[in-house]
Each structure stands twice: as structure tokens, then as C-alpha cells.
């Protein structure tokens, strides 16, 4: 009887150990998150989402904050298996590294899309794109679709070549470049700016600026917003599990993170994820070609 009991307890212990994967024994992988504004913000913003993805897929994901300019190089060096980038980086990684499209982020009034607005101060004498000739303009980071490419292409589509017709244009340095663009116009440092429409929407919503402060000369067509992708060597079943975890997120989804139960979507500042087709990025591809931007630049 005693032997039977001991055997039963031993089997029970083995089963318990087998059922419960110890943290250290779970597979490890890395997700490269493009820094939208700064590295501390990326770590704070995506920590809970990363923990959620780890829980749902059974993989211990390491959150790797990556500077936009370094992203392609670090991905090519094999530093991470999954990516969270803007849609232009997705295009580059798709073309050069066969990145697999997983899901697109939804935020703001255009959902999984975004656009840029060319703004001037409300009291500016500049009333149209033609009036920008000989003026000083500030753009967002060069690899930002709604901070640079879509505005640049918008100007080209109106017959205005920024390289020849602006007296000068600049891109701010350091972190929070999009906000710097908006404030640079607000404080009169530049005559005009290329601002992501989402940032204008959010900053007005937060009361940082007022709609009355600016005039919008033109708004670009919408293009896909931030995008999750997977390296083509990732097991398709795992990639699908990852995608399912993203698209089934709801505002009520909770995750244990740093000893707290946190709402995943609110913590990551997103309204959800949805599946787009690669062809939904064709409009952005056409813009990159017209603007002679990566991955289609010709020297």
C-alpha cells in the first residue's frame, strides 16, 4: 500500500512538472520594436503587450527597442525574429528580407491607416502649397511614412519639388521628432511642417495644442499604420498563433506585468489589430517609388 502511494505521488509530481513549463525552459525569441519617439517610451509602452504575446504563444519574448535607422541592419543580422515597425520599414524588410506580414495596428480615426498633414500657423500668410516656394519647412524622420514620405509625395503630386522649391528643409534630431515638428511650426521656427495627422489628433485630444493654432494646407492619402511581421524562417504555426493573439485582443484583455494586472491595449496605446493584405501597402509602395525612397531608390 505504502509503495503504491509513493509511486502515485511520484507520477503526480512528474505530470505536474511536465504540465508546467518552467519560465527558464520555455523557448526564447525576440521582438524588435521600432522606437516611435524614444527608447524609454518603447519599453514602457510595449512591455505589457510583449508579456501578453509571451503568455499566448508560450514563447518568452524579449522586447528589443530598435532605432528606426538601425532596424534593417539589425534585422538582417538576425537580432530578432518578429518585428513591430512603421509601414515603410515593413516594405523594406518585405522586399529585402522576405518579412511575413502578420497584423496592422489600429489607432486614431483612420484605424489601421494613417496620413500626414502639411501645416502652417493659423496666422501665416501661406495659404496654399504654391505659397511654400522659397519657404522653410520641417519634416519628420525620413523613414516615417506619415512624418516624411506621404507629405513629400503629396508635394510632388501637386507639382512642387521640395528639393528645388523650398529654401531649406530640416528633420529634427533626437527623440519625439513628430511633436518637435508641430511645435517648431507653432513657435514660428519654420514656416511649414509635415505632421502625422494622428499626432495632431492626439495632441489636440490631450489639450497640448488647439485646432485653432494651425491651418492644414493639404492632407495626404491614407496608408497602412504600424505593422507586425515575422521572419520567413519562423514556424508558420507560431506566426499564426502570434497573429491570432494580436487580432483577438480586446480593450478588456488583461496581463500580469511587473506584479500588476494591466489592460494590454490601453498600455500599448492601440485600438486593436487587424489583418491587411500585402496589396494594401501598394499605395505606399507607389509613393516610395515616386519619392525615390527605400526600398526603391535609384542612384
Amino acid at each position: 500500500m505504502k509503495v503504491h502511494l509513493l509511486t502515485f505521488l511520484f507520477v503526480l509530481l512528474l505530470l505536474t512538472l511536465a504540465a508546467c513549463q518552467i519560465e527558464g525552459t520555455r523557448p526564447k525569441m525576440r521582438i524588435g520594436y521600432m522606437n516611435c519617439n524614444s527608447e524609454p517610451e518603447t519599453l514602457k509602452r510595449f512591455g505589457a503587450l510583449n508579456a501578453y504575446l509571451s503568455r499566448e504563444t508560450g514563447i518568452d519574448f524579449e522586447l528589443v527597442p530598435v532605432d528606426t535607422q538601425d532596424f534593417v541592419e539589425r534585422f538582417a543580422a538576425g537580432e530578432f525574429e518578429f518585428t513591430h515597425t512603421n509601414s515603410l520599414l515593413y516594405l523594406i524588410l518585405r522586399k529585402e528580407q522576405q518579412l511575413r506580414l502578420l497584423a496592422t495596428e489600429k489607432r486614431g480615426r483612420y484605424g489601421s491607416s494613417t496620413s500626414s498633414s502639411i501645416i502652417v500657423r493659423r496666422d501665416s500668410p501661406i495659404k496654399s502649397i504654391d505659397d511654400l516656394r522659397g519657404k522653410r519647412m520641417i519634416f519628420g524622420p525620413q523613414l516615417a511614412p506619415s512624418g516624411f514620405l506621404t507629405s513629400y509625395d503629396l508635394l510632388l503630386s501637386r507639382g512642387f519639388d521640395p528639393e528645388k522649391e523650398l529654401s531649406y528643409y530640416a528633420i529634427p534630431a533626437g527623440s519625439f521628432k513628430h511633436e518637435k515638428v508641430i511645435y517648431a511650426v507653432y513657435f514660428g521656427e519654420f514656416d511649414a511642417g509635415a505632421a502625422p495627422s494622428l499626432d495632431l489628433e492626439l495632441m489636440i485630444g490631450d489639450g497640448k495644442i488647439s485646432a485653432d493654432d494651425f491651418r492644414v494646407l493639404a492632407e495626404s492619402p491614407i496608408v497602412p499604420y504600424c505593422t507586425f511581421g515575422a521572419r520567413d524562417s519562423v514556424d508558420p504555426a507560431l506566426a499564426e498563433k502570434f497573429r491570432q493573439a494580436l487580432i483577438t485582443l480586446t480593450p478588456e484583455t488583461l496581463v500580469e506585468f511587473n506584479g500588476e494586472k494591466i489592460k494590454v491595449m490601453a498600455s500599448a496605446w492601440v485600438d486593436g489589430y487587424e489583418t491587411l493584405a500585402d496589396s494594401d501597402y501598394d499605395g505606399l509602395r507607389a509613393m516610395a517609388k515616386r519619392a525615390n525612397m527605400p526600398p526603391y531608390q535609384v542612384y
Binding site: R109, Y110, E201, I204, G205, A211, R215, I247, G272, E274
Partner: protein, 178 residues
């Protein structure tokens, strides 16, 4: 039993007349009062609706002006500003939906129309001066087949939610309740 004299009979008769008079008053008075209250409530509601409509027209005037001038992007930003001040106002959501339709992004407009009707049933009430029955019917007719197709191709929560929102609008347009 004590004998009853003429004076006592007179007093008894006067009391009976008073009681009958009071009974008559009690039976007629409440009906008259109720009518007065109904009239006042109707008047009050009409005054309130009119004042609200006039006030909303005034606060959304800048949006209307920008829209007339074709400044859709600025009108949308102005709505963001107003949404911060009046987050539960259906008209802001409705105008956002209309502007997004003008911007030719109907998929993004659906949620705003849905929010608008949830916040303010007048937009689907044919009797209301503020109703957008025809416009919303057109939206549902055009977008529902497309949303169902998207859901068929990508059966995921986002697509399902949009179908639900369109069904909700369809139901409210048909006279269904919240």
C-alpha cells in the same frame, strides 16, 4: 333616541351638501391638473430641444464653415477639439462620420455613425428635424455587403465588429430599440 329638531335637520343637510361638493371637486380636479402638466411637459421638451439644437449649431459652426470651404482635414481637427469638450455629444460623431465619407474612407466612417446613433437616437428618427435616415440607409446598403465579404475573407474580431455595427444601424433604421 333623542328627537331631532328642524335646526339639526338643516345642519345635517348643509354637511351633506358640503361633502357632495368636495367629492365632486376631488373627482374633477386631478384630470384638469394632469392636462396642465402634459401641456407644460410638451412645451418644456420643445423649448429644450430647440435650445439644444441652437446651441449645438453654434458650437459646431466652425466645423460647418471649414466643411463648406472644403477644408476637411481642418474640420476633423476642429471636431477633435470639440470632442474633448463634449465627449458624449452624438453630433460630433455624426459629423466625423460624414467628413470621413467625404474623405472617401467609408470603412473608418462606420464606427463614428454607430457611435452617433448610440448617443443620439434622433439621427434615425424620421420625425426628428435632425434625422439622417436616408444617408444612414445608403451607408448600410452600400457597406454591409462589403463588410460581410471582408468578414468571410478574414473572420476576425475587427471585421465581425464592423458587421455588428452595420446590423445595429440597420436595426435602428427599421425602428428597433437600443
Amino acid at each position: 333616541m333623542l328627537p331631532i329638531d328642524g335646526f339639526q335637520k338643516l345642519i345635517g343637510l348643509a354637511i351633506a351638501v358640503c361633502l357632495l361638493g368636495l367629492l365632486g371637486l376631488l373627482m374633477t380636479a386631478p384630470a384638469a391638473q394632469h392636462q396642465t402638466v402634459t401641456v407644460n411637459k410638451t412645451l418644456e421638451r420643445q423649448l429644450r430641444d430647440q435650445a439644444r439644437a441652437a446651441y449645438l449649431e453654434r458650437i459646431y459652426q466652425p466645423v460647418a464653415e471649414l466643411r463648406r470651404a472644403g477644408q476637411i482635414a481642418e474640420a476633423l481637427l476642429m471636431l477633435d477639439e470639440l470632442k474633448r469638450q463634449y465627449p458624449q455629444e452624438g453630433l460630433g460623431e455624426l459629423l466625423t462620420g460624414e467628413l470621413l465619407m467625404e474623405r472617401q474612407v467609408p470603412r473608418q466612417a462606420i464606427e463614428h455613425f454607430y457611435n452617433a446613433v448610440r448617443l443620439d437616437g434622433d439621427f434615425v428618427d424620421r420625425k426628428s428635424a435632425r434625422n439622417r435616415h436616408a444617408q444612414l440607409s445608403q451607408l448600410v446598403e452600400a457597406q454591409l455587403p462589403q463588410a460581410l465579404e471582408r468578414q468571410r475573407q478574414n473572420p476576425e474580431p475587427g471585421a465581425e465588429q464592423q458587421v455588428k455595427q452595420l446590423y445595429y444601424l440597420q436595426s435602428r433604421l427599421a425602428g428597433g430599440c437600443e
